[in-house]
Subunit: 329 residues, 2 copies
Amino acid sequence: MAKTGPFEQLQTILAPEMAAVNDLIRTRMVSEHAPRIPQVTAHLVEAGGKRLRPMLTLAAAKMCGYSGTQHICLATAVEFIHTATLLHDDVVDESDQRRGRPTANLLWDNKSSVLVGDYLFSRSFQLMVETGNLRVLDILANASAVIAEGEVLQLSVAQDLATTEATYLQVVRGKTAALFAAALEVGGVISDADEAHVTALRDYGDALGISFQIVDDLLDYGGASAALGKNTGDDFRERKLTLPVILAVAKADKTERDFWVRVIEKGRQTDGDLDHAMELMGKHDSLAITKEKALDWAETAKAALKPLPESALKTLLADLADYVVSRIA
Amino acid sequence: MAKTGPFEQLQTILAPEMAAVNDLIRTRMVSEHAPRIPQVTAHLVEAGGKRLRPMLTLAAAKMCGYSGTQHICLATAVEFIHTATLLHDDVVDESDQRRGRPTANLLWDNKSSVLVGDYLFSRSFQLMVETGNLRVLDILANASAVIAEGEVLQLSVAQDLATTEATYLQVVRGKTAALFAAALEVGGVISDADEAHVTALRDYGDALGISFQIVDDLLDYGGASAALGKNTGDDFRERKLTLPVILAVAKADKTERDFWVRVIEKGRQTDGDLDHAMELMGKHDSLAITKEKALDWAETAKAALKPLPESALKTLLADLADYVVSRIA
């Protein structure tokens, strides 16, 4: 991405606040009695995550003219929830790599990932409680429940070819969009922004999160150009029903359906199956249609910003929606 | 236990409130979108747990003359935190049995246990937020963090013969006593009880929890009489450094130390090792001393109640401390 893309511009504008968030992350992830906690957390927190979600909280607060210090607490809480989710996800997915590095469950064990995730989750609630703002607590507690619900739903429908696009959207709204939406909403709430502006921020976050996840799922099949790289095909091997597959399954004839039953439902995959899956997705335009849907959600995100007054930050958030989908352009 | 023991008397006195808690547990554990959640939860929640922790919240509130409805929410929140902890513990311990039934991780999978635990944990925070009481939120968020810290500490010192009694106490305070203490404290807080009474309730819970866990750890070696049953020896096989072993290791001569290094640190256990461990614990009075310490903590619990005005419930809580250790009498 260009050095002057919206993400870098947000990083520059929010640099002092992000520095404060990074300090608070480091202060709060320590544990006096259990030194393994900061080790596990540091592995993940320092691993060069983009800190996109806390940045959204900071951007929302700044846009709404917030002048206090609670946005730092809340942005940190949001990042802790995200990190806890990643730790638990890696246990659930039995992953061994994240962001090109070995996962915590591989370096330590599943036990540490589960318990350190729980610790960070509790720490995030402590940070929210410190704001003394019950509405913010309500929003983030709800988001946490919706995230877990989305993850369980994903697990329940895994390997189930009957999964519809509607169910996929529900999973994505839970596991990804709920935290994006809450991250932005709380930024507006602590600023005592107009309700219409708070709603706009939440709706923008929801659509941005959906777009973000669809792009992620599309990139797992090499993007719309279907250029398979070394990190592609993970979802296929894990037999996940993401949008590209759901769309192809919906248009499958009898022979194609038998193929999907074998590789996804029964999990009997052999060499060449991923290539054949790609062919079927090409034949039915699944990747192109998935791309269109990601672009549509980016447009929905931009449209949601309309009620907010014009500002440099508003423009950057709109550009961010375009940037998120630019990875599949 | 006798039909008229303190636990049954508490159950009788608090029956209407416990019925309300059970209703709320059932209402709040459902999930519209992820039907696996109530399945997994019901398996555990309906499995005949004693509901000791929520009962402590209800007892504390009633003792302090509370007349609202928040104690129902908080008792449910406390039970959800406990259930979430059990789900995650079973993943961590790789258990296949709890309360004589197969664990959720065996019936479903580790993934479901992790994610449904997360869901219940979020639901517990939603319940706390509903009380609108920030002090209660603070107490329970802190307790949750301390629980996770205690569990990680336990993991870090597992199989480490250098574990001291002080470290053991820290683990026990975290993984068990923190929730007992918080369960009682919040009952006092919502009742606007005198600070001295709130402190008394918390201190009682802390000591009761420690006593409870020491008894549990002692029973794993058959109690002070060392009568091994079919459920004993689990901690030994899992190479956990609980008090009976810590005390025996502290007094070990060279040969005995080599034994402990082999079976606990290196985990090379063979037939007869548990019997030999029991002999060593007998030789050094480890089980008898562990029993004394459990009794001491029960006395500490009873003494902590002193500032509270005399009442039938206060007497029952004191009796409950005796009852907890009566299992090893």
